[in-house]
């Protein structure tokens, strides 16, 4: 009986014998010792919580629930719930309003799980797992073998030592590790395969923590700009503590028949302290990376190059204006933009010609020709801020609009980029490899273990081999054990008496 225990606990490494002082303390605290202080009890409880796989199940399930809530927020499912059951509608409104992934609750859950993964998923199990790998207990009992539910007896004509040696040879050939101990006239056996597979759970769970750490690193030290616009021919500083700037030298686009863009390309030059350091043509799936900063092609659009001066000739604006950022009621089908020159008391609206002249022509109150733009200046300082002046300009034309002069230089285009820097990428790559590697090892090379006792037969000089897989509730382990024993029994080295003896042992035999 006393030999049984360690062997039994090996089948459940999560409940392996206490591996730390703290855990030992928790046992006594929980059961016998009333003299322990409150603090110890609390610490023990917390420790046990973090060690518990049962708690891990609930934690992962809770995280999954948060993910589901967040996922559905991006759908119309809650809305239809509210439509179906009216009184849920305040709840549904809150649901849509709750930014799950940036909430404190979500962060706390992740933090809790990171700790639990480290403590319960790894730290607490490490020594138990290491023992199962490095120093498994060899001696066992017939009673334990019967308890596995998969034991069987083989009868050999050879004496104990020969049979044990034959088994050892056969199993080593099959790449099993074989451990043998002689106890009186019996030989106790332990053989296993893929023992290091038990370690796979460590890279896997560490990878989970690394992903969380990576997320924090990225949020803390990285940046991401979603709408980084550069008109053709101009350059723009990236900022965020870098000395980098991007110049859009040229932009090209091609279309398929249906009018969808087939491909568009931006020819960029990257400037570091105004010195060109890289140049590349980037497309949607082919970004440019320099010094940890990546520039992605995102989209593009129409722009106009204008110059605005006041009546003394001082420039108020000189550059490109991206169209399409604004929709004007004067022509909803046209690309338009607003240029805010409020320090000078003026807000400019610029409207391009109609994009789809055949679509709802009655809405177009401007009727611009190709290559023309409509420019309107609203004087914010005027009574009610409503004084306006407007003009239609063709390329290279200039108009005086009250206190300002606007010159339309030319049509141009802009390209829209995303600029991002994510210093956690190497971490993510390492974590991905660890995660997949750990899973593969755990799943595809499972640790297989077999225990056995070779004892002298009560009649004759033969021996009896009692074998059992350590595969509680593991059908696959049993199946492998069966096919292994079949192969052993059909091989010559065991010198089996008669195949009819290869029967599953009856309970209590």
């Amino acid at each position: 009986m006393s030999v049984d225990r360690p062997a039994l606990s090996e089948t459940r490494p999560d409940s392996a014998r206490p591996s730390t002082g703290r855990r030992t303390a928790s046992r006594t605290a929980g059961t016998t010792s009333p003299s322990r202080g409150w603090g110890d009890v609390v610490i023990d409880r917390v420790w046990r919580f973090f060690c518990s796989v049962r708690a891990a199940i609930w934690e992962v399930a809770f995280l999954a629930t948060l993910m589901l809530i967040g996922t559905l927020r991006g759908s119309s499912v809650p809305r239809s719930l509210a439509d179906a059951i009216p009184f849920t509608s305040p709840l549904v409104d809150r649901w849509y309003a709750w930014d799950v992934y940036n909430s404190l609750l979500f962060m706390l859950t992740l933090a809790l799980m990171a700790i639990a993964t480290a403590v319960g998923g790894m730290f607490n199990r490490a020594s138990g797992i290491w023992k199962a790998i490095a120093h498994p207990t060899v001696p066992t009992t017939h009673r334990f073998l019967r308890g596995t539910g998969g034991n069987l007896f083989l009868a050999s004509a050879s004496p104990v030592s020969t049979t044990a040696a034959g088994l050892e040879r056969d199993l080593r050939e099959r790449r099993y590790r074989v451990l043998i101990q002689t106890r009186g006239d019996e030989v106790h056996l332990y053989f296993d395969k893929n023992r290091f597979s038990r370690l796979g759970t460590f890279p896997f769970h560490i990878a989970l923590i690394l992903f969380m750490v990576g997320g924090i690193v990225a949020a803390q030290f990285g940046f991401r700009e979603m709408a980084f616009i550069i008109p053709e021919g101009e350059s723009r500083a990236i900022g965020h503590g870098t000395d980098l700037a991007v110049r859009l030298d040229r932009f090209e686009d091609t279309y398929v028949e249906s009018g969808l863009p087939a491909e568009y390309t931006s020819y960029l030059t990257l400037l570091d302290n105004e010195r060109p350091v890289a140049s590349d043509a980037i497309t949607v799936n082919d970004p440019l990376t320099y010094d940890g900063v990546t520039i992605y092609q995102s989209s593009f659009g129409q722009a106009v190059q204008i110059r605005v001066t006041d009546l003394t000739g001082a420039a108020l604006y000189d550059g490109a204006v991206e169209l399409g950022t604004f929709t004007s009621s004067d022509n909803p089908d046209a690309l338009a933009a607003v240029v805010d020159l409020r320090p000078a008391g003026v807000v400019l609206t610029i409207i391009a010609p109609d994009q789809f002249p055949i679509k709802q022509p009655e809405l177009d109150r401007l009727q611009l020709a190709d290559q023309e733009i409509y420019v309107r200046a609203r004087y914010t300082g005027s009574p009610g801020g409503q004084e306006m002046r407007a003009a239609v300009l063709a390329t290279r034309q200039t108009a005086d609009l009250g206190a300002i002069r606007v010159e339309f230089l030319r049509e141009t285009r802009f390209s829209l980029f995303q600029v991002a820097s994510n210093p956690a990428i190497p971490l993510f790559i390492v974590a991905s490899i660890m995660l997949l590697g750990g899973l593969m090892v755990t799943f595809y090379f499972p640790h297989r273990r077999i225990r056995g006792i070779v004892s002298p037969d009560s009649v004759g000089d033969g021996s009896k081999v009692h074998l059992a897989p350590l595969a509680k509730r593991d059908w696959g382990g049993h199946r492998q054990f069966d096919s292994l024993v079949n192969a052993l029994a059909n091989g010559p080295s065991l010198n089996l008496l008669d195949t009819t003896t290869k029967q599953p042992a009856a309970p209590g035999a």
Binding site: S76, V77, L436
Partner: protein
């Protein structure tokens, strides 16, 4: 090209017929056994175990002749279905020269994957009863393909963001193979619950079904992990961010977490078995939700069109 696309669809029609017939065979194999057994039970099930092997695992073979040959027919038809589906996909890919990119193509791959994985399991476990659940799932997916408007069968060029071929092919196919593996786990879990409730000697043992359920997850879980990883690499190339909490991403992560819960239950005595099977069934519900997510989500992944 046009002709190939058409021919591919005709092959799919052949697949559909084969798997409908296979489903009928598998289902009546499972049910027909019931009749045959009821009649001969006192004779053939009076307790003689299969004594020829050392197996300690109840295998549950042996039944009436009619039922058994129905099972053989089912298997044969399922292999036919797989063969036609392979042809169909091959032609489609030749014609479009691109990875699957809309629900029509995804579902074609799903039918292929679920047949392939199922047949491999059937061979490995020598167990046909799962077919009575898995094949109808394949038929359901085929029916969904038929319900799609005819335009979706045409080959369309992709928008630039979806044009990174090898990565996208990997990403999408891995996901679909993962879903197909979860379908096997689902079938095993359903049978498991049936067997638990009312042990039926001709059905596979609960222990074997538990193992099949687990094996399905050992295929699907790493695949979905890879899907999340390749997906974020792709998102990085196309949209400039590895992870943007897009509903399609989060629903895949949700799915993954459900199966992580399942994997943890396997190391707990009280949780293994029935509760594990229930989680597998929930997991498959989550799989379907993720698969058809394009219908309920906006977001970046809507670009490919439904």
């Amino acid at each position: 090209m046009e002709a190939l696309v058409k021919l591919s669809f005709y092959c799919f029609a052949a697949t559909s017929i084969a798997i409908v017939a296979a489903s009928a065979c598998y289902v009546s194999f499972a049910a027909g056994r019931f009749r045959v057994r009821a009649r001969v039970a006192p004779l053939s099930f009076s307790g003689a175990p299969s004594g020829s092997s050392v197996s300690t695992v109840p295998t549950g073979f042996g039944s009436g002749p009619t039922a058994a040959s129905l099972g053989e027919f089912g298997t044969m038809l399922a292999w036919f279905g797989l063969a036609f589906q392979t042809l169909s996909l091959g032609m489609r890919i030749t014609a479009s020269r691109s990875a699957p990119s809309n629900m029509y193509e995804f579902s074609m791959v799903f039918v292929f994957a679920v047949l392939l994985i199922y047949l491999l399991f059937e061979r490995s476990y020598r167990e046909k009863h799962l077919g009575a659940i898995v094949l109808p799932i394949a038929v359901g997916m085929a029916a969904y393909v038929w319900s799609l408007p005819a335009e979706s069968r045409e080959v369309n060029p992709l928008i630039p963001a979806l044009q990174n071929q090898p990565l996208m092919t990997t990403h999408v196919s891995l996901a679909i193979f993962g879903y197909a593996a979860f379908a096997i786990s689902f079938a095993a879990a359903v049978l498991f619950l049936i067997v638990q409730r009312r042990p039926m000697s001709w059905l596979p043992s609960a222990a074997m079904l538990d193992d099949i359920g687990f094996r399905g997850v050992t295929i699907g879980f790493p695949l979905i992990a890879l899907v999340l990883i390749t997906g974020s690499i792709w998102a990085h190339r196309a949209w400039g961010a590895y992870w943007s909490w897009d509903p399609k991403e989060t629903s895949a992560l949700f799915l993954w977490l459900v199966y992580a819960v399942y994997l943890h239950t396997r190391s707990l005595r009280g949780w293994r078995g029935t509760r594990g099977a229930v989680i597998l069934i929930l997991g498959f519900a989550a799989t379907i939700f993720t698969y058809f997510g394009n219908y309920v989500f906006g977001g970046l992944h809507a670009y490919g069109g439904v």
